[in-house]
Subunit: 113 residues, 2 copies
DNA sequence: CTGTATCCTACGGGATACTG
DNA sequence: CAGTATCCCGTAGGATACAG
């Protein structure tokens, strides 16, 4: 952690929906727009589009358009995007532990009260 | 990455200054308020305080107040906070690679133009 | 030295309607 | 199906002043 580039990493994955999008693309290597939309409750089309565009700009995902009617667009992780998997995985594990940890803290203070 | 707790992890470390604060506390295990302020260019007192409070609420850092005049307050990582180090470290490495990667992409497109 | 207290603004994100 | 185009709002974060 010489000079702190955590900023850069965070920039790439922060955004209310980005990690959820990435999550689905880790599970499923090609995924369509509406498939994503259905898989992520609460997301709007606008948000889905804009977050996808940002991920694309960071070269984390690819957008493949099929010249068809009706349109078909598939999103998938780039190789570079796949390099994020270990980090996301660690964060997920840490997140679970963090929840437990914080809960146990609350339990302690409750017991005192 | 069973069910995605990346959210939780992100919540804990997202915030414009949090990872910078953490970074300094990794390098230096006890650090004072003004020391942090001086080490983090651009941060305001308000922001430093509020980010410190949030980190404290997540039990990532401890606040130790010395009963003195003038006041002295030392911040340090909790054990739980230290469990974040590997993640931050990975993110930092990835961040550096990401910068290079994106730069090389720009170079390619420049060459085409 | 280590903070609060205000006030203010930019922008991430939501709701809704429209389109090739 | 896979998107734009608008309009709108809450809140994270900045500037500044004051305080124990």
């Amino acid at each position: 952690m010489s000079e702190c580039k955590v900023d850069t990493a965070l920039e790439a994955i922060v955004g209310k929906w980005k990690h959820k999008i990435l999550f689905h693309m880790i599970k499923q290597d090609k995924i369509r727009f509406n498939e994503l939309k259905r898989s992520i409750p609460g997301i709007t089309q606008k948000m889905l589009t804009s977050q996808l565009r940002e991920l694309e700009q960071h070269d984390l995902i690819t957008r493949k358009v099929y010249a068809q009617v009706p349109p078909k667009v598939e999103y998938s992780l780039t190789e570079h995007g796949k390099s994020l998997i270990p980090i996301l995985s660690m964060m997920s594990v840490w997140g679970e532990e963090h929840v437990k940890h914080v809960e146990s803290l609350y339990r302690e203070t409750d017991e005192k009260a």
